[in-house]
Assembly symmetry: C2
Homo-oligomer: 361 residues x 2
């Protein structure tokens, strides 16, 4: 008899991984039936007998389906991209947790992209995510206020959407997509209102990079709260700094060098607040909250452990991540325009704020 050419070598350029065809053969059915049995094709029902034979064969062979192949055939993946500034930042950690939880629930895989606060890198990752044919992208972290950047971001996102991808922003990114909004403005207002109620009239603000939408919004909240009370924010009471502990430390020093008479400091995130706390107490020898009150923003996990424990504005970050994913999965076609979920900020009062010193009138 004629020798079989290459009897059962699956193919030359393959991984050697078990293939659906192998499962089908073993179960004695066609590959189509195997596919339907395993992934419940489109309303198609498979005879129970065949179905279990396929399942058995798959188990015996330890079949693991090939997502890239499925993606190609279906022209749709089960991957969503999560774009953050910095993975180590607890702010994103919280959002990511929410996203991961929901993703697991919906059987989605999450591809992580970290821009390290580089706008260009953010754009780069967007095309990479597009290359991966991510089904959706969650844009977390703050947007940049830069016009040119926002325009390019919008274009990139539009292209992504054209290919059928969904986009959800967590926080305002200046782009016209579904969004889970965190009320930064209101949170900041609450913080200032709290200080004001305690009698503070000379309040210093340590802002993060003014190029971030988040910072802009929080600052807006501060100004609005002040205006409502017939006050304003003097230029020398505002200092811009890195959104980090070190930034907050340096900023507090700079602030009090100019305005030693301040009775309160509002740092626009907890990291900076931690730095300010250290600068104030160790560097400047001011007691907190005796001489100076300090408020932060975000309520990170460790903020209650700072010394003194930090009064801060809590943002429902985990929930934001979760809702973002729900917006993705909820396939409601774009009847009507963008969907916006509003999430509230909440002031958490702890030990770092107290009445303004008596002589501060």
């Amino acid at each position: 008899m004629a020798p079989d050419p290459a009897p059962r070598k699956p193919s030359d350029r393959s991984t050697g991984a078990v293939t659906l065809q192998q499962v089908a053969t073993r179960a004695g059915v066609s590959i189509a039936t195997a596919s339907r049995a395993l992934h419940g094709g489109h309303g198609r029902v498979v005879n129970e007998e065949l179905r279990s034979r396929v399942l058995a064969a798959a188990a015996e062979l330890s079949y693991v389906s090939n997502a890239p192949a499925q993606a190609l055939a279906r022209s749709r993946t089960s991957v969503v991209g999560l774009l953050v500034h910095d993975v180590a930042d607890p702010y994103f950690g919280a959002i990511a947790t929410g996203v991961m939880r929901a993703a697991a629930e919906f059987d989605l895989m999450v591809m992580l992209a970290a821009s390290f606060r580089e706008p260009q890198l953010e754009l780069d990752y967007l095309v990479r995510l597009r290359t991966q044919r991510a089904r959706a992208i969650v844009l977390a972290g703050s947007g940049f206020t830069d016009q040119a950047f926002t325009a390019r971001l919008g274009e990139s996102l539009a292209g992504f959407a054209e290919d059928g991808g969904r986009v959800v922003c967590v926080g305002d990114h200046g782009v016209d997509t579904d969004t889970v909004n965190l009320d930064n403005r209101d949170g900041a207002e609450q913080a200032v209102a709290h200080l004001w109620a305690l009698g503070h009239r000379r309040i210093g603000v340590i802002a993060g990079p003014l190029g971030l939408v988040t910072v802009r919004d929080r600052l807006d909240g501060v100004r609005r709260a002040l205006q409502r009370r017939g006050a304003e924010l003097p230029a020398d009471c505002l200092v811009e700094a890195d959104f980090t502990r070190a930034g907050g430390h340096a900023a507090a020093l700079a602030l009090f060098a100019r305005r030693p008479d301040l009775t309160a400091v509002f740092a626009l995130n907890d990291g900076m607040a931690a730095g300010a706390l250290a600068a104030l107490q160790e560097g400047l020898g001011r007691s907190v909250p005796g001489e100076v009150s300090v408020v932060g923003f975000d309520d990170l996990p460790y903020s209650a452990d700072l010394h003194p424990s930090l009064t801060t504005v809590r943002l429902p970050l985990r929930r934001a991540g979760q809702r973002a994913l729900e917006l993705i999965v909820d396939e409601r076609p774009q009847r009507g325009a963008r969907r916006i979920v509003e999430l509230e900020a909440d002031l958490t009062v702890r030990a770092s704020t107290g009445p303004a010193p008596a002589h501060s009138g």
Copy 2:
């Protein structure tokens, strides 16, 4: 003339995204040439003229390559999986940062999997990552000491490796793969040595879940350090707790209820140390380090801001993540057995430790 059937509709079940074929047509070359021009195929060089025509066409059409299709054709993806316990945990945040940095450098995408400390979920994610045909997996976070689990983990990993995937562990997972080792044992020894040198003889230990390899190793270090000094760890000086702030808080209370005479506490991670600090100072009214010294483990970003600032053992987590990815990329075939990179722990002395109280002799 005969009417063209479906003149330029790309196809019925496609995304509508621009295709390499379209680019090729527009550039007036074959699809093969387009592919080579764009992705520099295998040493093959393309005539400069054609090459630039292809590039131009791709740009004009805003061509974005299709990773799933490439993956199928090459039977290899550019995705690596990162498996952690908890994304929000700064411990993993640090590792993830290292991984992301290196991934960007090597043009790899990272797929994130969070087990939320559920062994079963960890196993599940492993097959999902396999389904995605991840080129490699970084197993971060602690392994479990559970034998049965470790065995199943090993099998799953073996299957993954059989299909050509690489596996790198960060920390000991009890499996036989390339590993970036963090010297938990030695770090714990350093911590105990430090306390001992300060005169502490009655040291309490707050351990995390004993089912974690990391905890086991750190505890080993404690015992070894003690033995070397002719001492041991009495059963009532050890308490197991959740690897969290709350866990540490409760554990400290329990510990001092049994052994009010302790002069030092070693919490096996910083989160628990933070809880212990609060329990000791606020709950029990003990001064730190005046009456009791406290040491933590991991040196998380905020540990210096605790009150008092925490003496702790620093682990080069970011570097660990980075090295893990380097092991993946470094294609050195498995000549020789598993590769192991050792990373050292370093004691960072801050304000939470001091001499043992005089009457404690």
